[in-house]
């Protein structure tokens, strides 16, 4: 585990909920810009994500980190009028219609946000029309579609086809435990992901590395 320079980022990596809350309160009180505080938290999250990918952290740590983040963001969000502006690219993501599993999707969303992407999360059981609409509205070059149920395979294929028909230039990454080269071909997607790390790689392939 690398030790981060920033105390707040490091408290996040240590999953020290009380310390994170205390430092955020202190910095807000001292007039530190909210964006700066958020970026410290994101740096911590990015390190947590890296440790998860390396097998040093497990889902239990990732979920804990997500909860800590969620709780402090309740206090920070009111100060973030209009969003942060700067980001590496926009990604629309959701679990396809017929499936309500969101654990995998939420992990990828957490890591993509941590890596500086603007993520539009459509939630679960998302109809294909809603994907197409969101991709058009946000002009997203990349769409992530999640499915864990193999029964949602047809729905996944239809959703990829709808997005490709509506916005031919958009790239699609499908994610879930049963994804492989065959499923990717079957669905007509551009990338497949069986882990959150694969999802990040797809984003880097589309938006370019740092």
């Amino acid at each position: 585990m690398a030790v981060l320079q920033d105390e707040l980022a490091q408290a996040m990596v240590d999953l020290d909920q009380e310390k994170v809350a205390e430092l955020v309160k202190q910095r807000l009180g001292a007039g530190v810009p909210v964006l700066e505080i958020v970026s410290s938290l994101q740096a911590g999250m990015a390190e947590v994500g890296r440790m998860f990918e390396n097998g040093e952290y497990f889902l239990s740590e990732l979920i804990m980190a997500g909860e800590i983040m969620k709780e402090v963001m309740v206090d920070l969000e009111p100060h973030l009028a209009g969003g942060s502006g700067e980001h590496r690219g926009t990604i629309v993501i959701g679990t396809v219609k017929g499936d309500v599993h969101d654990l995998g999707k939420n992990i990828v969303v957490m890591l993509l946000k941590g890596a500086g992407y603007n993520v539009i999360d459509l939630g679960v059981d998302v109809p294909k029309e809603k994907f197409v609409e969101a991709v058009k509205e946000h002009k997203a070059p990349l769409v992530g579609m999640s499915a864990i149920l193999t029964a949602a395979l047809e729905s996944l294929k239809e959703t990829v086809a709808a997005v490709k028909a509506g916005v031919p230039e958009a790239k699609v990454v499908i994610g879930g435990p049963f994804m492989d080269e065959k499923v990717k071909e079957f669905c007509g997607a551009d990338f497949y992901a069986t882990s959150a790390g694969d999802g990040l790689k797809a984003a880097e392939a589309v938006f370019g590395g740092k």
Partner: protein
Amino acid sequence: MSNDKSKLLEERKKRYLTALDCGKPDRVPIGLTVSEFMAKVAGFTLQEIYYDLDKNLKALAKFVEEYEVDTFFSAPSLWWAASHDAVGAVYLKFAGRELEPNTQFQYVEGEFMLPEDYDAFIENPTEWILTTYLPRIHKEFAEPGSYRASVALIKGAGARAMELQLTQQGTAKIMEEYGVVPAGTGLTKAPFDTLGDALRGLKGIMMDMRKVPDKLKAAMEVLVPHNIFYALATAGGDTEFPAFMPLHRGAYPFLNPRQWDEFYWPTLKKVIEGLWEKGKRTYFFAEGDWTPYLERIAELPDKSIVFHVDMTDIDKAKKILGGRFCLKGNIPNSLLAVGKPEEVRDYVKRLIDEYAADGGFVIDAAAVVQGDAKEENIRAVIETVLLYGKY
């Protein structure tokens, strides 16, 4: 029962139980764990099998009539949706109610037990479930003791009794008519999953390991005798076939190794050992990847489990568990859905050659087979075993 069918039933039972005892039967048994796929075979929508008990059983009959399997898992739907409607279940969604007629049922996870409920749960779980938990997960029980709640309780209990009786009689008839044996009887869970699935939820239990570890452990201890009893009760006392145990939060990478050792394994081991003392084997349905934990699982008494291989490294499973525990699995469900019959044949042939050669192996899919599998691919599995699977 006709003589032919009773002979067939005995043959299949011997074949299956010999494999579970790590022996070599006449050929590798076929034990496909198939659910919604059967509705497709029978030409029913999912709404029909969730809501109509007769059609649910007919779908199973149609499947075992058309497909030469040795064991069956259950009728395609594990739920009778109407009984859940009667009590207004908030945690299940069914085709025809919230979902379209041919959509897989959905389980909606929530934190239905709160951290502050631990003490009452540990003190008397049944009382807590009746007075606190049931009203939270069923709209109709929202006001316990009210006229509405009492009527719903009678309807719900009546529906459940009807469902169990009809299903039991129906499957007994199917066993007789088609000479197939159940892959398992009875159902249970790891105590960590009992709490993590439907009570505290994933997020809740992950936080509890850090914030209230002692309460979590005490609650799991309370569940050990309950989960042993539940397996035997739902099996009607049968100890010939294994109890089905779907395993969830213990899969890699949910818990870190220290948490797995400290929270997941001790009470799970007690449930399995407790059942084994009563002569009941556990069908360890290891969904996901269990590779890092194989050495710990190998601590169990010989033959006390059937280990289901989903995404676990099958070479390691064979090396660490083989010979002492029967293995079952692991044809990828994506192959059954989008592969060609030749590819399925090659995969099954390789399973037989590399993992079943010395016995103690049952051919199955990696995960429960839903409506996406192609009929020709399921046929290819069976044909391949019949052709190459003889010992």
